[in-house]
């Protein structure tokens, strides 16, 4: 027994009172006898000491042998109501036998809760106990033990009694048992033995990988508590496994393994699912099926989609010769779903009109490239760019090039001068239609383009000086001033146009001449030649029979433009807009160009570009800032560019691969090699090294570990990356988690995933330049909750917990309170005792003062 004071500072009060009491005692005026006074003083000092001691909260720590038994009752789904009733009976008996001991009840499943016990009433029924606990589909015995320890009141011997089947799905029991043992809290364990039949699919195990056509086995592990007949069905991607799908078997008690023969002909991700049916004795249906994924590697598959499939045969043959499996389809055959796209490793969009790709297709392509690592090659062509329309499209966002190159350029793309005949013969509707045509032309142009209007009769007059088409209102107003009158002479007007347009900064310079009459020819064609030399092209429009078709035709021919003739004046505006559309087709150039490599790249290795013939045309675009331009024209227009998009790669080849723009290339020996290397480099394959990844399920999570080890046996450190988990049935519904380095060359991630078969793809990039250093793949299957996975109570585990904490296995309710000589040190407060003593001392003091014999008168 030991004594202590919780607030020893209160003793100062007694010390402070001492001089006070002594001083008044010595200076006393009372008529107490000296001995009486001394005695009274001593008693009063004791009285003060008692009160000061009471205020100091004295404690006495004594040994006690009373037990607080916390009964931890497992109410998880793996425990039946009958088992809970048996446990309730145990609790009742323990309560009856408790004597001076305490009994506390805790109900637990995925979480633990204390259940208030009214000792006048029966223990709550199974349903109420289940409701008291929380977190179905799990058993967290560790949490129950932790709560139980907290519920042991001070001054009691703590005793936890675990009534459970021992199936601890959260894995915390071992550690909590350790902590309980360290705190000298014993855990008695009472096994709740299963009394319900159960059969389940324990495991589905395809091999770690397979090759197309290679036979292999899928092992299906089954467990049952009863000997019974059952049917096991194996599904491959929701269809019965070809050749070996259904087995009628007799399940024994315990574990049974069934092996199915399987073979996959196509590469890709396959999901195997085993289902158990026809059971006579079973409780939970949720554990009767389980799935696992299998990745089947094979020859890369490439899909070519071409507007004119017949024209893409050369490309198809080049790729086939490179040992690639090629599907050639028309635009209608382009998959619209990610799942369908995922059967291919690369898709080549060749000379496709933008309208061929619907929104669904574009979205699917984006997901496939970004999340699934697909390779996309965009090959231009006249069909693809005849009408434009790729600008700002979803497809353009995937590509390494931007098609609005010209539009966004600061310099004007086009310098256009309309040379309009305003001679007297144009009077009337013709001049009005010419004005309308001029205004429409101005409206068609991009604001950065340049436009000028020169009217001519025998003289040239600037109606609209050469200026940016952005000034539309002013240009319209100026065009309105056009009026007919005078003769017809083209030459002065062409000179003016040449003078203004020659030095203008525009990529394309064009003149449209409109005339309805005869003009002197002298010097016109020579001037046209000069203009052509200055990069100016000319088109001409003749209106009415009076027009000088010969001259206008020659001007157009020599001027590199087009000659239009109409005898219907109302067609003038349409001709102007068409002509303007023709010349504004800046996204496409059909001039022969030679290409050269802008940088050394492995994909161009062995391709003799020096010997490459010119391409007859190309689409004009510009590379995006992060893209890598590999080939370009001598003018600097990119022809081949590439970049990474998420896990995948995209490539833009801005000429075509068939007998239109690349007609000479088809006969060029480098053609097949270039395309084979280009597609092989772009197809879905691990970037950089192929690292090994292990993945396993733990609870509702998949844990993934990637080992980055290079070929020189060195660990690859300082990488960043992530793991993407893709469900086998819907690859578009991906879940990602970052990879964190945990050791030399080791990166780990945890993903919370829904039950099912998941394919995991890890990408590791350099921390500095973000280049992909390596990739890794694995598959993992997450089954039903672990709560339903074990059939038998973990008796060994329960025994071990009891042994580790010094408790009993399967004790009787009475044994729960057996202390085995154990004592607990209990603090007891003594302040009330001190107060009681002070009361007594107070009375004694009064007695001493007033009732001492000899002092009273009779």
């Amino acid at each position: 027994m030991t004594f202590a004071l919780a607030r020893p500072q209160a003793l100062w009060l007694a010390l402070a009172a001492l001089p006070w009491i002594l001083w008044f005692s010595r200076r006393s005026l009372s008529d107490l006898l000296p001995a009486q006074r001394v005695l009274s003083t001593v008693v009063r000092l004791l009285w003060c000491a008692c009160l000061a001691a009471a205020l100091g909260r004295p404690l006495v720590v004594r040994d006690d042998n009373r037990v607080a038994a916390v009964l931890l009752l497992d109410t998880s789904p793996s425990v039946s109501d009958e088992q809970i009733d048996a446990a309730r009976a145990f609790v009742e008996r323990a309560r009856a036998a408790r004597g001076e001991n305490d009994v506390v009840l805790v109900s637990f499943a995925g979480a633990a809760r204390a259940v208030p016990l009214d000792h006048r009433r029966a223990v709550p029924a199974a349903a109420a106990l289940r409701a008291a606990a929380a977190g179905a589909d799990a058993t967290d015995i560790g949490a129950a033990v932790a709560l139980g320890r907290a519920l042991v009141p001070a001054g009691r011997i703590g005793r936890l009694v675990l009534l459970s089947d021992g199936q601890d799905t959260e894995g915390g029991l071992g550690a909590e048992a350790q902590a309980a043992a360290a705190a000298r809290v014993r855990i008695d364990t009472v096994p709740l033995v299963r009394d319900r039949p159960e059969a389940l699919v324990r495991a589905v195990e395809p091999p770690p990988g397979a090759a197309p056509g290679e036979p292999f086995e899928v092992r299906v592990g089954l467990s049952s508590t009863e000997a019974q007949h059952a049917r096991v069905t194996l599904f491959e991607d929701d269809l019965p496994n070809p050749g070996d799908a259904v087995r009628e078997i007799d399940l024994g008690v315990g574990r049974t393994e069934v092996r199915f023969r399987a073979r996959v002909t196509e590469p890709g991700l396959v999901r195997y699912r085993a289902r158990l049916d026809g059971l006579a004795h079973d409780t939970h249906a949720g554990n009767n099926q389980l799935a696992a994924p299998l990745r089947v590697a094979g020859q890369p598959r490439v899909l070519i989609v071409d507007g004119q499939p017949a024209e893409a045969d050369a490309l198809r043959r080049a790729l086939c010769d490179a040992r690639l499996r090629v599907d050639l389809r028309d635009p209608a055959g382009l998959p619209r779903k990610v799942e369908d796209l995922d059967r291919f490793d690369a898709v080549v969009l060749s000379d496709l009109a933008p309208e061929s790709l619907g929104a669904d297709t574009t979205r699917a392509l984006s997901t496939w490239v970004h999340d699934l690592g697909g390779g996309l090659l965009f090959v231009a062509g006249p069909g693809a760019f005849g009408q434009g329309g790729w600008e700002d499209s979803g497809t353009e966002r995937l590509l390494p090039v931007r098609f609005d190159a010209e539009r966004r350029r600061e310099d004007p793309r086009l310098g256009l001068i309309l040379v309009v005949d305003k001679s007297g013969s144009m009077a009337g509707s013709k001049i009005d239609l010419a004005k309308e045509a001029a205004r429409a032309t101005a409206d068609l142009l991009d604001p950065t383009d340049l436009i000028g209007v020169v009217a001519f009769d025998s003289q040239a007059t600037w109606l609209v000086s050469l200026q940016r088409a952005a000034n539309r209102t002013r240009i319209h107003d100026d065009i309105t001033r056009l009026s007919a009158g005078g003769g017809t002479s083209i030459l002065p007007a062409l000179r003016e146009a040449h003078r203004e347009l020659g030095p203008a900064r525009a990529k394309k310079k064009h003149v449209i001449v409109l005339s309805d009459g005869q003009s002197p020819e002298g010097g016109v064609l020579e001037l046209v030649q000069d203009m052509v030399r200055d990069g100016i092209t000319l088109s001409t429009v003749g209106v009415g029979d009076g027009a000088d078709r010969t001259l206008l035709g020659q001007i157009a021919e020599q001027g590199g433009g087009r000659f239009y003739f109409t005898d219907q004046a109302d067609r003038i505006p349409r001709i102007f807009t068409r002509e303007t559309s023709e010349v504004t087709r800046g996204s496409l150039s059909e001039e022969p160009v030679r290409v050269h490599a802008t940088r050394a790249a492995e994909v161009l290795a062995g391709v003799d570009l020096e010997s490459a013939p010119p391409l007859r045309g190309h689409a004009v675009a510009r590379s995006k800032p992060d893209a890598e331009t590999l080939l370009a024209t001598d003018d600097g227009d990119p022809i081949l560019a590439r970049w990474r998009v998420g896990l995948g790669r995209t490539v833009a080849f801005l000429s075509d691969a068939k007998a239109r723009w690349a007609a000479e290339w088809l006969r060029w020996p480098g053609y097949a090699r270039l395309w084979a290397q280009l597609v092989r480099e772009t197809i879905r394959h691990p970037g950089g090294e192929t690292f090994s990844m292990r993945a396993w399920a733990q609870g509702g999570r998949a844990l993934a570990t990637v080992d980055a080890i290079d070929r020189n046996d060195r660990f690859v450190d300082d990488l960043v990356g992530e793991v993407a988990a893709l469900p086998a049935e819907r690859p578009s519904d991906r879940v990602t988690a970052p990879l964190a380095q945990t050791a030399p060359g080791r990166y780990q991630a945890a993903l919370r995933l829904a039950p099912g078969a998941w394919f995991l793809r890890a990408t590791l990039r350099s921390g500095e330049d973000r280049e992909t250093v390596g990739e890794a793949e694995a598959a993992v299957g997450l089954g039903y909750a672990r709560e339903y996975a074990d059939l038998e109570p973990d008796l060994q585990g329960l025994r071990q917990v009891a042994a580790a904490t010094g408790g009993r296995f399967a004790p009787s309710p009475e044994q729960v309170f057996d202390t085995g000589g154990e004592l607990v040190r209990t603090p007891k407060e003594l302040w009330a005792d001190a107060l009681a003593l002070a009361i007594v001392l107070g009375l004694v003091d009064v007695v001493l003062r007033r009732a001492v014999p000899g002092r009273r008168t009779g």
Binding site: A6, L51, E214, G797, T857
Partner: protein
């Protein structure tokens, strides 16, 4: 008012009895003291004055009795331990016991100050208030039920010691929420260094309880090892690489030194220059240690580190299992060399003619070079080179000349193995059974196969190694190494370094109950399940689980970030603690005061 001590009836009885005694004592008349005087006339004037004060003298007697009764009443009332019956507050005091509480930026350390603050909170409780103390580390634990007994609560607070784990704030909040559910005026008081994620505080669901905080700590200056691990190289098993991450939590650039020790011997020291908040990752390549015990020690510049727990980290790499290997061959130096490259192999050689079927458990691996016994040797790992006949684990088919080797499906044996450009003169086609894996094939014909027969794993190579240049390529020792790892089940070595506060399953050979020894002493015995023990290390240092040693490190950047953050939650205002003591204390103190005054008045004859 409700009585928590002696019941009212008993109090009344005590008061009645003691009061009656007092009254009786005061009802007795006191005899006057006889004093002889020399001349009576001298006292007559005095007597006249005393007669004038007769009224006051008459009051002295009842007043004295009243004082005594008042004293008695106060003490008897105190015995009843009365408390107001009003609804009090219900507080959950979450006392931070995480690793950062060992920081010494305040004297003597944060934990001591936090305990003082928690006691202050308890002292500020009113008589009808109740509180529970929750010790908050990686496994928050209520130390007792809700109680209004301040002294008992303070005893619990005094017993709290910091662990070496991070605080699991969400779990502590959940615990507090559960404990305070349906309680009147619930409140949560967080006492600690405030190094808690602000978003957690913002998102805290406390079921309507008011959150207050008391923050201790002054400085966040710290440099810490936030990650440390070591691994063997996959091929060169005698060499290791260690990786350490050191992070600065200072607001200014600093310099530190990191020492690496192997088996207790200093191996390397690096000077690290770190900017504010910077992390340095350092790789120490080609380290050698017989026992595979590595330690990183950080030596910060003086005055820059208030937290010592993260200045040391351990990485213990287990020893690879030795493989007793029998090579049955007429002589194949390439094969022998590849086997001997592995330090874990204890190799014995025997010629085919001298081969006798070994007993079970004699060998871990048997390598059969161009020799196939009729019965497969009883060993967990078998390598067949050019197998033939009935004893072959796979059927053999036709012979192909100059096959074109291609890899098969992914398999642990193919890690880093490239078949590209491997030349083979002739090979026998193998016919794998379902479940076997084809590791190399030529135009669909399997040439190298791996699989399992019973409990034994095997690797079968369908060609004579001497008729191939495989043996001179790097792929060959890699294949052999991978096969040995696969046979021994050690294709992934355990990393025997854990983070404090995280449950880990430590594989232990044999035994159902295993002794656990923490750095601060034995922790009893832990049950082993499925060959492993669930360990929850709450202290950094070397732990021993049965025969297995494990290094436990803090290695938690969030816990190394020790900067206190006042203002993360509203501050707790203790109030005037002295006014909130239990009523009996006031009653007893009043009685003491009155008793002392009465003593003075009695001896000055103001009372009797």
């Amino acid at each position: 008012v409700k009585l928590h001590g002696v019941p009212l009836g008993a109090l009344l009885a005590i008061f009645s009895a003691a009061g009656a005694v007092l009254a009786a004592l005061y009802l007795l008349r006191q005899r006057r003291r006889r004093v002889e005087v020399a001349f009576l006339r001298l006292w007559s004037g005095e007597r006249g004055r005393r007669d004038a004060a007769r009224f006051l003298r008459r009051l002295r007697w009842p007043l004295s009795l009243l004082v005594q009764l008042a004293l008695l009443a106060l003490l008897v009332a105190a015995l009843g331990d009365p408390r107001p019956d009003a609804t009090g507050r219900h507080l959950a005091i979450l006392l931070d016991a995480s690793a950062s509480m060992t920081a010494t930026d305040v004297a003597p350390d944060r934990m001591t100050l936090a305990r003082d603050e928690a006691r202050r909170v308890v002292e500020s409780m009113g008589p009808s208030d109740q509180a529970m103390i929750v010790r908050m580390d990686a496994r928050p634990r209520p130390l007792g039920p809700l109680s209004s007994d301040a002294v008992a609560l303070e005893r619990l607070i005094d017993a709290v010691q910091p662990s070496h784990t991070a605080a699991d704030l969400p779990r502590a909040f959940a615990m507090a929420r559960d404990a305070l559910r349906d309680r009147e005026r619930p409140g949560v008081v967080l006492v600690g260094d405030g190094a808690w994620p602000e978003d957690l505080l913002a998102r805290a669901d406390l079921g309507g309880a008011e959150l207050r905080s008391v923050v201790v700590g002054r400085s966040g200056d710290n440099l810490g090892i936030v990650a440390f691990a070591a691994r063997r190289y996959p091929m060169d098993r005698e060499s290791f690489e260690a990786l350490a991450e050191v992070k600065s939590f200072l607001g200014h650039p600093t310099t530190a030194r990191l020492h690496i020790l192997a088996d207790g011997v200093p191996l390397d020291t690096r000077e690290i220059h770190l900017g504010p908040g910077e992390t340095a990752r350092l790789a120490f390549a080609d380290l050698h240690a017989t026992q595979g015990r590595f330690e990183a020690r950080l030596e910060p510049a003086p005055g820059t580190d208030h937290f010592a727990l993260d200045d040391r980290a351990l990485a213990l790499v287990g020893q690879p299992r030795r493989l007793r290997t029998l090579l049955v061959s007429d002589g194949n130096l390439f094969l022998e060399g590849a086997l001997l490259l592995s330090e874990q192999v204890d190799l014995e050689r025997v010629a085919p003619r001298d081969y006798r079927p070994p007993p079970a458990d004699r060998w871990d691996v048997v390598v059969l070079d161009r020799f196939t016994p009729p019965e497969p040797p009883r060993a967990p790992g078998l390598i067949y080179v050019s197998p033939s006949g009935k004893g072959s684990p796979v059927e053999t088919g036709a012979t192909v000349s100059a096959p074109f080797l291609e890899g098969g499906a992914p398999h642990p044996l193919l890690r880093h193995v490239a078949w590209k450009d491997v030349n083979v003169a002739r090979a026998r086609v193998l016919r794998p059974a379902p479940g076997d894996a084809t590791l190399a094939q030529s135009f669909g014909d399997p040439l190298v196969v791996a699989g399992t027969r019973g409990v034994a794993r095997f690797l079968a190579v369908g060609f004579d190694l001497r008729q191939s240049d495989l043996v001179v390529r790097v792929a060959f020792p890699l294949l052999v190494r991978n096969a040995l790892d696969w046979f021994s089940g050690e294709d992934d070595e355990p990393l025997l370094a854990l983070a404090a506060g995280q449950t880990a399953h430590v594989p232990v050979p044999g035994g159902s109950l295993v002794d656990v020894v923490a750095p601060d002493g034995p922790r009893g015995r832990a049950p082993a399940k499925d060959g492993s023990v669930a360990l929850w290390p709450d202290r950094v240092g070397t732990w021993r689980v049965g025969p297995v040693e494990i290094g436990v490190n803090l290695c938690d950047a969030s816990e190394s970030r020790i900067a206190p953050r006042a203002g993360a939650a509203a501050a707790f205002v203790p109030g005037r603690a002295a006014l909130r003591h239990d009523p009996w204390v006031w009653l007893a103190a009043s009685a003491l005061l009155i008793g002392l005054l009465e003593w003075a008045t009695f001896h000055r004859r103001l009372t009797v």
